[in-house]
Amino acid sequence: MILSIEELSITGRDRTLVDNVSLAVREGEFMALVGQSGSGKSLLSQAIGQLLPPNLHASGRMMFDGSNLLDRKPKEMRALRGSRISYIFQDYQGAFTPFRSIGAHFDEYQKVHGEKSAAVRRSKAAEALESVGLEAKLLRRYPFQLSGGQLQRASIATALMLSPRLLIADEVTTALDSVSGHRVLELLARKQAETGCAILFITHDWRHVRRYANRLSVMKEGRIVESGGKHRILDHPQHDYTRQLIAAAPILSRSLNSGLEEDKA
């Protein structure tokens, strides 16, 4: 059990946005958190890194490595973020500061996490880029000189560079077309097999869930309505809402129908 969230609530000034959620991520697993937009899944992921906006308050317990994340001081959380817990987001276009080169980002992240030698930082950065299938010469480029797919890979490389124990992927495939989306997830799954990090995968796309996840939780209006193994939930959903979601998922069982036949009929 690498991360176990127990009775976490996130409250704003006058309403509860995440209500008494409990969730566990096991070592090295691909855990999917599924839900509609606005169900509180992104807030939950932000709460893990103490990244909530200042007007929201989290209560409950979040055990990571045997201690409660909510009790940690901001400085300890800073040391944790990026090295033990990493994030990747949907918007890969804006993932890098526009006027700094890609290499400057890699260098800086290693520096703040205590890597003193510049030569080591350089070689690690090149290694990280190569491990996601990009050339090391991209380190000298600026973000606008890279394509969207390259940026997405580079941001995955930064997230995985310091071998985190937990990777939080927040809607990473939403802005990508389905081929690129699968490519990114395949890359993630491959890196997971190499490094053994756990992935908390936040999505509303059932196709990706069906293909990559080990376990999943379904979230609705700030509560978790159902969680369990992938096969159990997909084949035998217990909760009405899960059934609705699955029924609403676009499933391409046959080849893509243009609707021409139906028009004629």
Partner: protein, 287 residues
């Protein structure tokens, strides 16, 4: 402005032809002023306060290229040294306003919440006073002098920089690259200095270069009414005032410092306009 254009423009890519002459003329004038100041600072050995009552109000001659004033002092010497005074103090005031305004704006915009509200209410308070009034009140309380005048200008001017920086930072810090910098464990101070500060440099540069002309005018005009540089310090505004009684007989005594003020302010504004177009900053940056 998209990030892409910043990088392109900073790396000196395509220049717009339209403003080429403006830039060249501006650069030449700036060089001229700088050269004159450097010459004055390094080589000029004449005493600007050396009075010669037998040689009062002389016209141009070989020993006094621009003539002498009502106390027989060399006008060219005073003009050159006065330039150092006026421009130097303007830059000092501007620099101090930047040093106060930029960090406050950064912190307010990045932290938000009560810090932001507190700083901005203070800024609103300062903004409520017209600059001339502050200068007059401060001179009244602390005595007239160039130091107090500079202080008054700082008090008035830092607010606009704090507000400009804050508004840019408010918009930028919502963007994903700042969020990702945070999720990668960077400290707030590092994010502010390394990831946000370079972003606002262009905006601040434009506002500052548009402001410098105003500050020069303010220092000159307040010196003219006797609140700034005190005699016998050579200062353009004070020189204007000194030569006022002789306007009928020797108008050029007023024309020289007046022309100096006008041309320097003009150059500063031209440079500011050029930078604004070049950095593609929105109209709201205009002071």
């Amino acid at each position: 402005m998209t990030p892409r254009t910043i990088v392109l423009r900073l790396s000196g890519a395509p220049k717009s032809k339209k403003h080429g002459w403006q830039a060249i003329a501006g650069a030449l004038f700036v060089l001229l002023v700088l050269a004159a100041s450097a010459y004055t600072f390094l080589y000029l050995k004449h005493d600007p306060t050396l009075t010669d009552l037998r040689g009062r109000l002389h016209g141009a001659s070989a020993s006094h290229p621009l003539g002498t004033d009502h106390l027989g002092r060399d006008v060219l010497t005073r003009l050159l040294l006065g330039g150092g005074q006026t421009i130097g103090y303007s830059l000092l005031a501007l620099g101090a306003a930047l040093v106060i305004g930029i960090p406050l704006g950064l912190i307010a915009g990045y932290r938000r919440g009560w810090v932001d509200r507190l700083f901005m209410r203070i800024a609103d308070g300062f903004l409520a006073f017209p600059d001339t009034i502050v200068a007059i009140v401060l001179s009244g309380l602390l005595g007239a002098g160039i130091g107090n005048l500079v202080l008054a200008i700082i008090i008035v001017k830092w607010v606009s920089y704090a507000r400009l920086v804050r508004s840019t930072v408010l918009a930028e810090s919502q963007k994903d690259y700042i969020r990702i910098a945070r999720t990668n464990g960077l400290s707030d101070a590092r994010i502010m200095t390394k990831h946000l500060l370079p972003h606002i440099a262009g905006h601040v540069l434009v506002l500052a270069s548009l402001d410098i002309g105003k500050i020069i005018l303010l220092i000159s005009s307040l010196s003219y009414i006797g609140l700034g540089a005190q005699p016998p310090t050579p200062e353009w505004g004070a020189m204007l005032n000194d030569s006022r009684p002789y306007f009928q007989s020797r108008p050029e005594l007023m024309v020289y410092p007046g022309l100096a003020i006008v041309s320097v302010v003009l150059i500063a504004n031209m440079l500011g306009d050029y930078l604004r177009d070049r950095f593609d900053v929105k109209k709201e940056v205009q002071p």
